[in-house]
Symmetry: D2
Subunit: 391 residues, 4 copies
């Protein structure tokens, strides 16, 4: 198998650090493949690139080197304490392939900014001799983008870049550069990235696949199986209230109300769709620094059954954000490279399984998404665990 480049935007953050260290550890036999969807037997015949075929690089606006950024994760229980030490050299090698990223520019991006990002990507592809590169956005959550004509029309975007006034989010600047460099793109955050029409059109024009957005790693994952349960049983959900407590980097970003609104919108979009009707109840995302990389969510669902009887379900999810997100980043890199190799162009709705806000798809139920994913790239397969045993 030829080598695949995986370029991480936000390459020194917790998710990227865990993904890179995890890939190194798994390929060295120092860790198991738990949490990697594409390591399930259904994908064995899909001819996906192996974890050992991935070469990592990325952009970041700062941050400490990977071997250092792994230390607090080790202390807080996300990764085993011995791993950052055991793979310090390999982490440093990846770190040397991290280039300076771009910050938001309210006054607008110029062509030279995106050209530089594109050059970084082309250089990486050449030096690492990879067949193709997948760019994965893991940067901080941005406020929702302002309405701007250059996001709507490819020509206006080009003109604005020439004029140095392209008021696009940094995530979309990365997506532009990636597509220009011939890379596929995965939007793992709620950021705009490749979703605005001008970017989506560019992907079509250049014949490149992309997927997004907002990795479904915790509370929304649980929602995406519970809501179809209520619907299938004709139980009427009356209110669904959610509280998410986050520490860590993403929590800090979300203390900014504007970024928070982008995130809550992404989370809320699916529930109404899953239930088939609007539903009452607050949705909070709170920053609790003390929690470190841990996140705890409590959901309270009040529902009505036969003859109007009122009942409830509540759940508490206690997880580590980076441990949940990192293997999905590896899955998405492998699957998007596969989409690219097999000639898929534009958004890949079959990857909606991984996202809170699936681009190109109105399906939010996890099991339906599973079927769409496996129908696409696997041998015909039934449910996730029960397949082989049914015959």
């Amino acid at each position: 198998m030829t080598r695949i480049g995986v370029w991480l935007v936000g390459a020194r953050g917790s998710v990227a650090t865990t993904a890179v260290l995890g890939a190194l550890a798994v390929r060295a036999g120092a860790a198991e493949r738990t949490g990697c969807v594409t390591e399930r037997p259904e994908f064995a015949a899909a001819d996906l690139p192996g974890l050992g075929d991935l070469a990592f690089g990325g952009h970041d606006v700062g941050g400490i080197r990977l071997a250092k950024s792994a230390e607090p994760l080790a202390r807080s229980g996300v990764i085993p304490p011995h791993l950052p030490v055991a793979f310090a050299e390999e982490l440093d090698a990846v770190d040397r392939r991290i280039r300076q990223g771009v910050r938001p520019r309210p006054e607008g991006f110029a062509r030279r900014h995106v050209d530089r990002l594109e050059r970084d990507l082309r250089e990486f592809a050449e030096r690492e001799a990879v067949e193709r590169v997948v760019v994965v956005d893991l940067s901080s959550t941005e406020p929702p983008p302002a309405q701007a004509a250059e996001l709507a029309e490819p020509d206006l975007l080009e003109a604005a870049l020439d004029a140095g006034t392209a008021r696009v989010p940094a995530s979309s600047a990365y997506a532009y550069a990636a597509l220009r460099a011939g890379c596929s793109f995965v939007e793992f955050t709620p950021n705009a990235g490749p979703r605005p029409p001008a970017l989506a059109a560019l992907a079509e024009e250049l014949g490149l696949p992309w997927a997004g957005s907002d990795g479904k790693t915790g509370e929304t994952l649980v929602k995406s199986v519970l809501a179809p349960m209520f619907a299938a049983r004709a139980l009427r959900v009356r209110s669904w209230s959610s509280t998410n407590l986050l520490g860590g980097g993403d929590g800090a970003t979300l203390a900014d109300p504007a970024s928070n609104s982008n995130k809550t919108a992404s989370k809320a979009r699916g529930l109404e769709h899953l239930l088939g009707h609007p539903v009452d109840g607050p949705l909070h995302i709170d920053y609790v620094p003390d929690l470190g990389d841990a996140k705890t969510a409590w959901d309270h669902v009040s529902f009505e059954g036969f003859l109007g009887t009122r009942m409830s379900l509540q759940f508490t999810w206690s997880g580590y954000d980076s441990a949940l997100a990192a293997p999905l980043v590896l899955d998405l890199a492998r699957l998007t490279a596969h989409a690219h190799r097999t000639g898929r162009v534009g958004v890949v709705p079959e990857l909606g399984f991984f996202f809170k806000d699936p681009a190109g798809s109105e399906v939010h139920g996890l099991m339906e998404q599973w079927r769409a994913l496996t129908d696409w790239c696997c041998e015909p397969a039934p449910g996730p665990a029960e397949g082989g045993e049914r015959g």
Copy 2:
């Protein structure tokens, strides 16, 4: 549409009372169809018997008349207080069609016992002028049946009945009588009913359909969507601990350790299958009289993610057993009558959607069960809520 008889074993219990009163109220427009799966749009074209086409009767070993047994349910919030009063006459009419049931006979059943049950059924069918009858077992949970040759072989069963020494559970005596009377059968409890080979063979011989067993009404329902979620995401469940607190009639029965063991076995069977590996953790069913018809379950799931990180999910389900079970009884009556009408013979695995321990099927995941159910009797349909909106 011709009329269908629904014969309830345990006809004066809480579930039966709620099902009968609910059917009366819904057909009169005095209650909504919430909780009735077969009222979902997917089933509109299936030509199922209507709720108004059902005539109720049943067996019980005692109990107070239906209009009275509804009162504690009204007090505890399971049914609206005005309904038992509003439908007192109709309930009395159903109550007059309840016949004396049979109790367990450790010394064995004789042919005269089952003949009498059969006669009750034939009489009911004739008087009510129904096209066919579905018998639904809602009786108390029995201890697991002892090994007995007459449960394994139809001929031995006939001989034992002739000899008056048929050591079969009461539920199987009911199933025998039902099949002899040309009725289809639904085993809604964890009891043996039609599952022993001698009974299953009789159903084949007589060309009758049956389904079972143990209605999936609460904690197991939630398990049947959460376990596939963990499996699909390649997260490794390390332990799954369950505590079920039950008041009410079924709770009292389960205070008997033998009956409890039948129930816990039924609950446990699915989880290992759903996850694809055995899993640690206790499973308790406790009788707490104070809770009335309410049941509360707490599940604690400890799981492992990427790089061995330990995380957890816990949920609390607070429901009313009868409110959850009753609409499924109506659904199963309609669907089993449909199976009978369309010539299905023997076990109907497509009805596994409704059961903790689906007869004839190794599929426990709710969404897969949903697909099997709707593939069988509905127009081609996607997920439960998302279908119509995807186009």
Copy 3:
């Protein structure tokens, strides 16, 4: 025992309705005294006014008559369905003693407004021939009052009333009128009521007792025993996150952010004090109309133990606001009348046991508050349940 008047501000709200109906039912032997603190044996010798000695009246700005406002409470499970019917006449009699209240006046109250309120109280006292009257504020939560000189100085308050420009909250207008009419006052909401210095000084001057504020009915009650537990065990609470889901009338009021801020401030004040240090974590109060009078709170406490080990406690409280508050209203009426009779003047800190934000006291721990309460008005008594058994 002579009769005591209990004058409820917000007399047609859910709490007032439940308190009045409950007092009627208990005195008639139609309900038990559960939830009434002053019915515990410790208070037997305190010579408090009996429930049968209370005459009810009140102010409200509108609302439907009591017998009607009790109906939705009956439907939602707060009060037994037969009670509003059984006591309809008595409820109507109380309802006839409800007078028109005052609404907030951003432009300021004039003397005629408070004089009218005072007249209502004097009339009530005379007609009912009660020895003394306790006024209990149960009105909706107000925004925090603006700074106003007339709240700080009695003379300025009198002058502003004369000028018709007294910018005081309605709750303080009620408190003013009550004190002028020779009544003691209980502030059961987070409203200002008698707390501003001008009002507190008036109470001193007129020799009247008062107590407040914000009845401790649910999640804060639990906090007030859990926080001292952590403190006594030298466990370090790192974050304490609270989500309160409320339906009902108070929930609707709290959907207004300004009123909400008054309520959350009142709730938060105690925790830091109980723990002896500030503590991280959000505190949400959300309005979920679907929940009716029910309120559900989830608290997540992250704490640190020996050698820095991280652990957690979470709890879910599911209660009915009116059922929790109503008996405390009766307790406070009896105890404040007792304070009045025994010559207490000004704030009564011993009543802090009942409040989230105890006026005149810095003690928030429930067991210490219990001791202060019982030391004041009971025979010497140890813990709440263990007393008699220790000898």
Copy 4:
């Protein structure tokens, strides 16, 4: 301050390991005093022995050396990973002072067995030149002792030891030896230890203090503040159901139903007393090996309020057994040494604060126990956190 010996029975178990390592770390300034009750300001003037004045030794029936037994604790998050390495030498020094313990002897103990234990203690006291020794039982939970005359009468115990037929639990053999050696004794497990009358009489005769039993470290701790809350508010608890999931060593012991019954009895004893009436509901202790040293408990409390309204409280406690117990072991060693020094003889009920099943006391409420403890050995002090701030 003169040195104090702390002799741990079960010296290589998780709790003992954590207590010893913790004392070493705290005295070296390498860890904070979190979780140590006797480090609270109230105890500053009590002249307790300092943590630096404690010399450790103990009995064990096997086990790996302390520096090794600390390793799994470090891996599972109970103790910081660097501590076992940093204090390896000191741990080895303590380990060299661990002597071979005794195992249960259903056929009975002989005098030579207890004499040998006594000799170990005297030798330790002499070599370490300590002023006095406190023996703390941390051994595995035993089945409840059979009725035996030698447990009831000191003379019969002496005679049985002479005859080699003393059918006493190992914990009581340790207690006998400790008292004979002039040591005070703390029963930190639910074992009999010094509680049978023959042993208690011996303590009186020899003028030695003791305390017990069964350290209150988790779910029961929470119960001991919540139950008084319900009682103080006159809320009627209808059922209280508890599920405890334990991994680790104690969990394994409790998989033995006999030991489990001893533990559940100890846990249940307090609740009825705290509430003032018996209460329904199961109490489970389950062994879930996967959980390691973690323990998770879920309690569901159904209670009744005003007018019979039904409400509920549930909580989930997630802790580490050893981290919770270890600082209490140090507290009890210091306080029992203090009792010894100040001439207390027999059971010390004021130490009930630390125990699920307080010997010599019928008080189970934590705040009352706190008052009794601090009244005994501290300056006059109010509530745990609020004291200094009230003036």
